[in-house]
C-alpha cells in the first residue's frame, strides 16, 4: 500500500475496433493529478476516440480506463466525474448563458442559492460577468468558447476534457485563449486532457503531450523532449517539422547515405546501432545553415541543389533537393544573402543538434 494519489486518468492497453478496422491499437498512458495533457495527432489518428472513451461516449473493445483509480468502463457518461468542452461548444440554444453554466450543477442537485453563487463566480472567472441573462445566439464565438469552458469547469470535474477547444477560433483569438486556458489551469489546479491537431497549441499549453499516429501513441513526453529528441520519424516530422536523411549504419561508425559516408558525423552518433540498420538522421531546419560548396563546414554537412528560396522577412527558407530526391530545408536569417536557385550548396549544422531515429 502506498499513500500516493492514483493517477487522475489511467488508460490501460486500450484497443478499439469497428468490425474489421482497428481505430486504436494498444494505447496506454497515465495522466497525473493536476496535469495538462494533450493528445496530438493528425485527423483520423484515433485521438478523439480516446477522449470519448474517457468521457464515456465510446467503449474500448479491450483494455481499461480508470479515473481516480476506479475503472469506468461500462459506466454511463452521466455517472463519470468528467466534464467536456465540445468542439462546437454545444451550448444549449434554448437556455441563457447562466442557465447553461448552471446545468451541470442542477444535475448534481446542488442547492439553488449555491448554484447562483457558483454561476456568478464562474462568470467572473471567464470574464463574462453581466452576460448571464444573454441568449447563446447573442454572444460571439470567443465568448461562447469561454461559456463552454465555464459550463464544464463549474462542476469541478476530476478531469476536464477539451475536444479541439480552440479549433473554431481565429488566429488572434486563439492565442489569447491559449494564455487564458493556461492561466485557468494553473489557478484551479484541475486535471486537463485536451485533443488537438495543432502542434503549436499542444506545445504551448501542455505539461505533457501524447503524439498519436494511426491508432498508436508514438511518444508521450513533455514539450521540450518532444521537440529536442523526438523518438520516431513521425514525431520528428509532425512536431516542429524536421529534415530527415534516410541512411544506413555502415562499418566503423560511419553513416552511409546512398552508400557513401556522411561527412562530419561522429562515431558516437551511431554507437548503439548495428551495422546495416536503416535509420533516419533528424535535424531541425532552424539548426541548418548553407554555405558555398568547397567551403570548410564545422560539423555534419550534405550537398543539395537549391530549388526554392522563400523570403518572409526575419527568416528565409532555403529549400534544397538531396541526391535521393528528398527535400532538405534550412531556415536562415533574412539579412544573409541567399544562395542562387539552381545552384548546389552545402547544408550544414552542429553535430550535437542532430540525432538518429529508426526508420
Amino acid at each position: 500500500m502506498t499513500n500516493t494519489k492514483p493517477p487522475a486518468v489511467e488508460i490501460d492497453a486500450i484497443t478499439k475496433s469497428y468490425g474489421e478496422t482497428t481505430a486504436i491499437r494498444g494505447v496506454s498512458m497515465d495522466v497525473r493529478d493536476g496535469e495538462f495533457v494533450t493528445i496530438l495527432g493528425p485527423s483520423g489518428c484515433g485521438k478523439s476516440t480516446l477522449l470519448r472513451m474517457i468521457s464515456g461516449f465510446a467503449e474500448p473493445t479491450t483494455g481499461d480506463v480508470r479515473i481516480g483509480g476506479k475503472s469506468v468502463v461500462g459506466l454511463a457518461p452521466y455517472k463519470r466525474d468528467t466534464a467536456m468542452v465540445f468542439q462546437d461548444y454545444a451550448l444549449f440554444p434554448h437556455r441563457t448563458i447562466a442557465e447553461n453554466i448552471a446545468f451541470g450543477l442542477r444535475m448534481r442537485k446542488v442547492e439553488r442559492a449555491e448554484i447562483a453563487r457558483r454561476v456568478d463566480e464562474m462568470l467572473a472567472l471567464i470574464n463574462l460577468s453581466g452576460y448571464g441573462g444573454r441568449r447563446v445566439s447573442e454572444i460571439s464565438g470567443g465568448q461562447a468558447q469561454r461559456v463552454a469552458l465555464g459550463r464544464a469547469l463549474v462542476v469541478r470535474p476530476s478531469v476536464l476534457l477539451l475536444d479541439e477547444p480552440l479549433g473554431a477560433l481565429d488566429m488572434k483569438l486563439r492565442k489569447q485563449m491559449q494564455a487564458e486556458l493556461k492561466k485557468i489551469h494553473r489557478e484551479l489546479g484541475l486535471t486537463f486532457v485536451a485533443v488537438t491537431h495543432d502542434q503549436e497549441e499542444a506545445l504551448t499549453l501542455s505539461d505533457r503531450i501524447a503524439v498519436m499516429n494511426a491508432g498508436s501513441v508514438e511518444q508521450f513526453a513533455d514539450p521540450e523532449t518532444l521537440y529536442r529528441r523526438p523518438a520516431t520519424r513521425f514525431v520528428a516530422d509532425f512536431v516542429g517539422g524536421a529534415n530527415l536523411i534516410d541512411a544506413e549504419v555502415g562499418p566503423a561508425g560511419a553513416l552511409l547515405f546512398r552508400g557513401l559516408p556522411l561527412s562530419g558525423i561522429g562515431s558516437d552518433a551511431v554507437k548503439d546501432r548495428a551495422i546495416g540498420d536503416k535509420v533516419s538522421l533528424v535535424v531541425r531546419p532552424e539548426c541548418v545553415a548553407t554555405s558555398a560548396l568547397g567551403g570548410q563546414a564545422p560539423g555534419p554537412a550534405i550537398e543539395a541543389m537549391v530549388t526554392e528560396v522563400l523570403f518572409s522577412g526575419a527568416v528565409q527558407q532555403i529549400v534544397g533537393r538531396l541526391a535521393d530526391g528528398s527535400l532538405f530545408v534550412a531556415h536562415e536569417q533574412g539579412l544573409k544573402p541567399p544562395p542562387e536557385r539552381g545552384s548546389t550548396v552545402l547544408f550544414h549544422w552542429d553535430g550535437s543538434l542532430s540525432w538518429l531515429v529508426a526508420r
Binding site: S55, G56, F57, A76, P77, Y78, T82, A83, M84, F86, Q87, D88, A90, L91, F92, P93, H94, F103, G104, M107, R108, S137, R151, A152, V155
Partner: protein, 275 residues
C-alpha cells in the same frame, strides 16, 4: 442570399423565371380560389357568370346535420390518429437518427412502405384483415388505417429533422450528469417541440383529408371526405363548397404557419450554424 442577376441576359432570364413562377402559383391556387368563390354564389347550381353573392351557404352548411356530423367525426378521428402517429413516430425517428441499429434498411422499408403503397391496396388489405375483427369496422378501423399511413409520414419527417440535430447537445448534457430521461426532458424535448407540433399538425391534416382507405373500412361511419365523395356523385350543393372553402383555408393556414415556425426554430438546433 440569392445571386442577384447582373448582365442584361441574366436579368431577362430572371424576369422570365419570375413570370413562370407566378403562373405556377396561379395554377396551384386557382382551384382553391374557385371553390371559395362559388361558396358565395347565390345560384343553387354554381356556374359563371356570378350575379349575386351570398353568405347563405355557410349558414346552410352549418344547419346540415349530415355535413356537420361527418365534420365532427373527421375531426375526432384525425386528432386520435395524429396523437397516435406522433407517439409512434417520435421514439422511432429518434432511434433511427441517433442510435446504431441492426437491420436498418429493413426498418426503413417498413417505415417507407405505407407511404409508397397505393392507398387503395392498403385499404383492401385492411378490409381482408378486418374480416377477422369485424367489430373494429367503422371508427376504430379508420383510426388504425390513418395511423398506419400518417405514422410513416411522421417518422420520415421527424427522422430527417433529427438527423440535422446536433448530437453534441445530447452528449454535453449527459457529460454534465443528465441521464437519458433527463436529457430527453431538459434538452431534446424543448429543442424538437416545434418539429413535433408541426408533424402532429401534418398528421392531423392528412388523416382529416384522407378518403380512399377510410372509405373501404368505414362501414356506416361517414367522415367528411366520404360525405363529399358521395355528394360529388350527385349534383353538388354549394353548401359543400362553403364548408370545403373554410376547411381548405384552415388547412393552408395550418401548414403555412407550422412550417414557417419550424424553419425559424430549426435554425437554432441545426448542425450548421447560420448567422
Amino acid at each position: 442570399m440569392s445571386a442577384r442577376p447582373r448582365s442584361p441576359q441574366e436579368r431577362g432570364g430572371f424576369a422570365l423565371l419570375s413570370l413562370y413562377a407566378v403562373l405556377i402559383y396561379l395554377f396551384l391556387y386557382l382551384p382553391i380560389a374557385v371553390i371559395v368563390l362559388f361558396a358565395f354564389d347565390a345560384k343553387p347550381i354554381p356556374g359563371l357568370p356570378l350575379d349575386t353573392l351570398t353568405t347563405g351557404w355557410f349558414v346552410e352548411a352549418l344547419r346540415d346535420q349530415k355535413l356537420t356530423g361527418s365534420l365532427l367525426t373527421s375531426l375526432r378521428l384525425a386528432v386520435v390518429s395524429a396523437i397516435l402517429s406522433t407517439l409512434l413516430a417520435m421514439p422511432a425517428a429518434m432511434v433511427l437518427a441517433w442510435l446504431p441499429i441492426r437491420f436498418k434498411s429493413l426498418v426503413m422499408a417498413m417505415v417507407l412502405g405505407p407511404v409508397v403503397l397505393p392507398q387503395l391496396v392498403l385499404g383492401l388489405g385492411l378490409v381482408i384483415l378486418l374480416r377477422s375483427a369485424p367489430d373494429l369496422v367503422g371508427e376504430p378501423a379508420i383510426i388504425l388505417a390513418h395511423t398506419t399511413i400518417t405514422s410513416s409520414y411522421a417518422t420520415l419527417i421527424l427522422y430527417s429533422r433529427f438527423l440535422g440535430f446536433r448530437r453534441s447537445y445530447i452528449e454535453a448534457a449527459m457529460n454534465l450528469g443528465a441521464s437519458e430521461l433527463v436529457v430527453f426532458r431538459e434538452v431534446i424535448l424543448p429543442l424538437v417541440r416545434p418539429a413535433l407540433i408541426s408533424v402532429f399538425m401534418l398528421a392531423f391534416t392528412d388523416a382529416f383529408g384522407e378518403f380512399v382507405v377510410a372509405w373501404f373500412v368505414a362501414g356506416f361511419t361517414e367522415t367528411l371526405p366520404i360525405t363529399i365523395w358521395t355528394s360529388l356523385r350527385q349534383v353538388i350543393s354549394p353548401k359543400v363548397y362553403a364548408l370545403s372553402s373554410v376547411i381548405i383555408l384552415v388547412t393552408l393556414a395550418i401548414s403555412l404557419v407550422s412550417q414557417l415556425w419550424v424553419i425559424r426554430q430549426t435554425r437554432l438546433t441545426s448542425k450548421v450554424q447560420t448567422s
